[in-house]
């Protein structure tokens, strides 16, 4: 168990070949499972600090104030441990097939002979990511979390930009990194505020030990809100950035330019839920700062709807999945936002974590399916697919399972977790409940739209474009699909409420049958609608799109958020801040310095007439100069 970080660190430095990476990850998987299961089996849900070494010491500010690195095990980190290692292992496995030579050469980003290098690079990045993600989930303190938070950001950047000859990929990677960096700024400021008052970064101390500091923060008001509220909101901004909450969501759809397994791992299952994890980790503090919880709820609920709406109108399958991811994470966020101890003992917290867990499984599954399809069809566009259930039956079934799960159909995993979320939402406020139910219905709709468009709809003429007919993906790729599908079917039955709660006490709430039934009905309505519209090729969708042209286009263009961002960054920041500053620097500041030189030169030229070469003017200057000095001195004296 103690070898954990060390093991990961060695992985980081190696240029691992695929198998080696997978084997390494397998080892991690085993260790991770052992750790988590041992922890859960121990019966006590009290957090354990396995390792905690001082990294940077700030004892000059306050005793014991330091940035530590360590391993922290509690129910949620153990759960995340399982999620991360599982998905990561499966994705490694899958990548062995996906990132084969043919694929790399297709993308043509390596000069001849460099293919192998790209393969290694891919696995190195992937391992780096896994390492960072594990570091993040096992963080003992908020600063360690920030450290690994940044690291996952960078690995995400590197992996999105993996096809570095593709301008879109570069652009997407930049966008992803900068957007999350911007959010991290909020996180950092939040940390700074928090740490200033509490003089600690440690989670344990923050949550339990420094109540007096926290109450000081609550008491200190800044611009109408308590400082704590500000701090927590700032930290949430960080989380929102990573978890692609509106309005910081713009990077995630673009991030799909990366290799699909990466999307599955990072942009569906693990990294993007870091924001949720962060909020969950600091949940007791959020409970004190209720204002920020309301912010969280509003942001989450809006994003859920917003992303779902966009997902309905996308054609790129990965984009649809991406928006679906945003929407689902928003579910989790909302769930945290609505959780209060007084409602069903804070079921929202558990629900959120549960959904995180199940979502990781089925969304990874869906992405891997998408990857398999793309692998064979060589396109992301749903318009170029259709009728694939014949060619790729396993993928089709896995996809169906995933879609059912995300729609919340019993007995698939999503049913259980989403159900809890809705319970929590209704408990907080019926309005939130209704809203989230509606979004759940939309989810069912667009997911099945995707499913039908890819696997049914119409069969395009694959041979016509000179491609081979698609066929089932190789074993290394299908195996993870199967594993995940199976997992999706069964994990819903895990007794989450016994383990994962914000106060480490098992939950006693039962199921709310009204919510269960209503949500299932809504999901079925969504599925039904999708079936009607997209099961077979017809022109109803086109008609509908024409009927609401404006709305459709807006949704298709993601409500122009990207354009807005582009406008702000390029036109406002670049054009009106950077360029003027650069100009100012060259023209004014530098100009001033050059002006000194020019003035000196000009003065030099101007006074050269005094040196006229004629001694008569010399002596005139001599005498008049002397007299002037004398006169001035006399005047001084008088």
């Amino acid at each position: 168990m103690f070898l954990f970080l060390g093991l990961m660190t060695t992985k980081l430095s190696k240029k691992v070949a695929g198998t080696l990476g997978t084997i390494g990850l397998g080892a991690c998987l085993v260790i991770g499972y052992t750790a988590a299961l041992t922890y859960f089996a121990s019966g006590s849900l009290e957090p354990i600090k396995v390792l905690d070494t001082v990294w940077i010491d700030f004892s000059q500010i306050a005793e014991g104030f330091s940035i530590n690195l360590g391993i922290y095990l509690d129910p949620i980190s153990a759960m995340m441990l399982i999620v991360v290692t599982t998905i990561s292992f499966l994705v490694h496995l899958y990548s062995n097939g996906y990132m084969d030579d043919a694929h790399l050469i297709k993308y043509g980003h390596e000069a001849e002979g460099g293919v192998k290098h790209g393969f290694q690079r891919y696995f190195a990045f992937l391992s780096l990511f896994t390492f960072s993600m594990l570091g993040l989930v096992l963080a003992t303190n908020i600063f360690q979390m920030y450290i690994f938070w940044e690291l996952v950001g960078v690995s995400s950047y590197l992996l999105i930009g993996f096809y570095y000859t593709d301008p879109a990929a570069i652009h997407a990677s930049k966008k992803a990194f900068i957007t999350t960096r911007f959010a991290d700024l909020g996180f950092l400021i939040g940390i700074l505020i928090l740490s200033y008052y509490t003089q600690t970064f440690d989670f344990d101390t923050l949550i339990n030990g420094s109540s007096s500091a926290i109450s000081t923060m609550q008491g200190t008001s800044f611009l109408g809100c308590s400082v704590l509220c500000w701090a927590m909101t700032c930290i949430f901004i960080g989380g929102a950035g990573k978890s692609a909450m509106f309005p910081l969501h713009i990077w995630l759809p673009d991030a799909m330019e990366g290799p699909t397994p990466v999307s599955a791992l990072i942009h569906a299952a693990t990294m993007v839920v870091a924001g949720v994890y962060l909020v969950a980790r600091l949940f007791p503090l959020y409970l004190i700062a209720e204002g920020s919880l309301i912010v969280i709820t509003v942001v989450g609920a809006f994003t859920a709807f917003y992303a779902a709406a966009i997902a309905c109108a996308q054609t790129d399958i990965k984009r649809i999945l991406a928006f679906s991811t945003i929407s689902q994470i928003a579910f989790m966020i909302t769930s945290l936002g609505v959780a209060r101890p007084e409602y069903h003992e804070g079921v929202g917290y558990m629900a959120s974590m549960f959904h995180l867990f199940t979502h990781a499984m089925f969304k990874a599954c869906l992405f891997l399916v998408a990857g398999a399809v793309i692998y064979r069809v060589h396109s992301n566009e749903s318009g170029k697919m259709g009728g694939l259930h014949k060619y790729m039956p396993i993928a089709s079934i896995a996809c169906l399972v995933g879609c059912l799960a995300i729609s919340g159909i019993f007995p698939f995993a999503g049913f259980f977790s989403k159900d809890e979320i809705l319970v929590a939402a209704y408990a907080n406020n019926t309005l939130w409940g209704l809203w989230m139910s509606m979004v759940a219905g939309m989810t069912a709709f667009y997911m099945f739209r995707l499913y039908y468009l890819v696997f049914w709809w119409d069969k395009p003429d694959y041979e016509a474009h000179g491609h081979h007919a698609p066929k089932e993906a190789p074993m290394v790729m299908t195996l993870p699909l199967i594993i995940l599908s199976v997992a999706t079917c069964v994990i819903g039955f895990l007794p989450f409420s016994d383990y994962i709660t914000y106060n480490h006490e098992p939950l006693h709430a039962g199921h709310d049958w009204t919510v269960i039934i209503s949500s299932t009905v809504i999901a079925l309505i969504g599925i039904g609608l999708a079936t009607v519209l997209y099961f077979k090729k017809n022109d109803k969708p086109a008609k509908m799109a024409n009927a609401a042209r404006g709305l459709w286009t807006a949704a298709n263009k993601r409500f122009y958020m990207d354009e807005l961002y582009m406008f702000i960054t390029h036109n406002i920041i670049f054009q009106t801040i950077c360029r003027p500053i650069a100009w100012f620097d060259r023209a004014i500041i530098d100009g001033t310095m050059n002006m000194f030189a020019n003035i000196t030169n000009a003065a030099s030229y101007a006074i050269r007439k005094f040196q006229s070469g004629s001694i008569q003017s010399y002596v005139w200057i001599y005498l008049v100069g002397a007299l002037a000095i004398a006169v001035v001195s006399m005047l001084c004296l008088i």
Partner: protein, 487 residues
């Protein structure tokens, strides 16, 4: 009548002896032996310089007309060192075809002017001072006109002569006013008689006196002759003019200000001197920027250097005196190194334009190296001596501690940037400009090489070896009686 008093001035007598020896050698030895006159002079003068070490002594003679203190002694030593280098440097030129016929006169005049400077430094009576001043300047006019081939030499001599006589007329007019006020020309008497007095006549007198010495030191606005004369005069004479003559004048200036007018010191004068210093440094620098002729360029640079030297004068303290002497010493070495290079190249190729120096490093690396060191030293770049002298002169000036002087020093410091600019222009021409150099690779004459080695070593070592400054500081503090009227 006590003629033994002459023995109180051994340095002057020694120099007179050297002068006479050279004179006799020149007059009576056969033509064949004449060619060794240069070496003879150098050797005799070197011996005299060494002998000087044993001529230290303090005290006044001729009833206060002449004074030898450890400071004047040290100053004369510095002048001797400079003179020796000039003599060595000039050997090549003095033996050249056109000059050889007048070789003897050249050395005699040089020695005579040096004697004048000795007198100037040690004089404590204005009549003696004037004689010293004139002895130091009139024969120089003849030296300036030495290069008969070149018209510029004559023009320079005429300019020098006319302005010098004008200046001495003004100077003596000032002296007549001083005499009217004090009734004596002995420095001590004057200081006592005008003590605390503040009158218009005193100011006019002071300004005129300052203008006379400032002329030699080329302070603005009395500097205008400098550039033309430096440019026109033979390089050996220019180098002599720019260092020895200037150094002696600086010392004399300090003596006059401290020992004569120190007793009637007032704020009005302070401002007057500040203005002169600021003008001198700035104007010198501004003119130097545009110069392409290296001798003219160094003339303007020397004007601004005079301004820095003046900072040591206005300090009016032992520290200032020590810094001043040190500055002069360093300046002697730095400037002579520069002139040594210029002379070497001029003697060989006749080129003195900065543009001709483009790419000099490729053809004559050692000359370029010496020149660069000289430039860096003049600009005050460590670890070369110029840095130390500049730092000490600033410290010396700030010793008085008024805010105004800090402002003055700041202006001086800002001016060092301008000066650095033009010194770097020379460095740039030699090292950075990639053009084909018009100056071919040549072998530097032995005498010039010796002089260059001495000056280069001086530039490097004078700053690092603190004993030199320490010695001067000791000499200055032993002569603190100079400043009795100021403190």
């Amino acid at each position: 009548m006590d003629y033994s008093q002459f023995l109180m001035m051994p340095q002057e007598l020694g120099l007179l002896l050297v002068f006479l020896l050279v004179f006799l050698f020149d007059t009576f030895l056969p033509k064949k032996a004449q060619s060794s006159l240069s070496i003879f002079t150098c050797v005799v003068f070197a011996l005299f310089t060494i002998a000087n070490v044993f001529m230290a002594g303090n005290g006044t003679s001729f009833s206060g007309m002449y004074e030898q203190t450890s400071a004047t002694y040290a100053m004369k030593l510095i002048l001797n060192a400079g003179m020796l280098i000039v003599l060595i440097q000039a050997t090549k030129w003095a033996n050249s075809e056109f000059v050889a016929v007048r070789r003897g006169e050249f050395y005699e005049l040089l020695l005579a002017t040096l004697l004048g400077m000795y007198i100037m430094i040690s004089a404590r009576h204005f009549l003696l001072f004037v004689i010293g001043l004139e002895t130091a300047s009139l024969p120089l006019a003849a030296l300036v006109a030495f290069d008969k081939k070149h018209y510029e030499s004559h023009e320079a001599a005429a300019k020098y002569m006319f302005t010098a006589v004008f200046s001495s007329a003004i100077f003596m007019l000032g002296l007549s006013f001083v005499y009217a006020l004090a009734g004596s020309l002995y420095f001590n008497d004057i200081a006592v008689n005008i003590m605390g007095g503040q009158s218009a006549l005193l100011i006019v007198a002071l300004v005129f006196v300052i203008s006379g010495v400032g002329f030699k030191l080329s302070l603005v606005p009395f500097h205008l002759w400098t550039a033309d004369v430096y440019q026109g005069a033979p390089t050996a004479v220019t180098s002599y003019l720019s260092v020895i003559s200037k150094g002696a004048a600086a010392f004399a200036f300090l003596v006059i200000l401290a020992q004569v007018f120190g007793s009637a010191y007032s704020a009005a004068w302070e401002w007057m001197l500040y203005a002169v210093i600021v003008l001198t440094i700035t104007v010198g620098n501004l003119f130097a920027i545009r110069q392409r002729d290296l001798k003219r360029f160094l003339a303007f640079s020397s004007i601004s250097q005079a301004g820095y030297i003046m900072l040591g004068v206005i300090a009016g303290s032992e520290v200032g005196l020590a810094s001043l002497m040190f500055y002069v010493l360093v300046y002697v070495f730095s400037n002579l190194a520069a002139f040594g290079v210029i002379a070497a190249i001029e003697n060989k190729t006749g080129k003195v334009n900065m543009d001709d120096y483009n790419g000099l490093f490729k053809t004559n690396p050692w000359l370029a190296f010496s020149m660069m060191l000289a430039m860096f030293s003049l600009a005050g770049i460590p670890p070369f001596a110029g840095f130390f002298s500049k730092f000490f002169i600033f410290v010396g000036a700030c010793h008085t501690g008024s805010v105004a002087i800090y402002v003055l020093v700041l202006i001086a410091l800002i001016n060092t940037i301008i000066s650095l600019y033009y010194y770097l222009l020379v460095v740039k021409a030699m090292f950075i400009k990639q053009d084909e150099c018009v100056i071919p690779t040549f072998k530097v004459a032995c005498s010039e090489k010796v002089a260059l080695i001495i000056t280069t070593l001086g530039i490097i070592l004078i700053g690092l070896a603190s004993c030199i400054y320490t010695y001067l500081a000791e000499a200055a503090s032993n002569s603190s009686a100079m400043f009795m009227f100021i403190h």
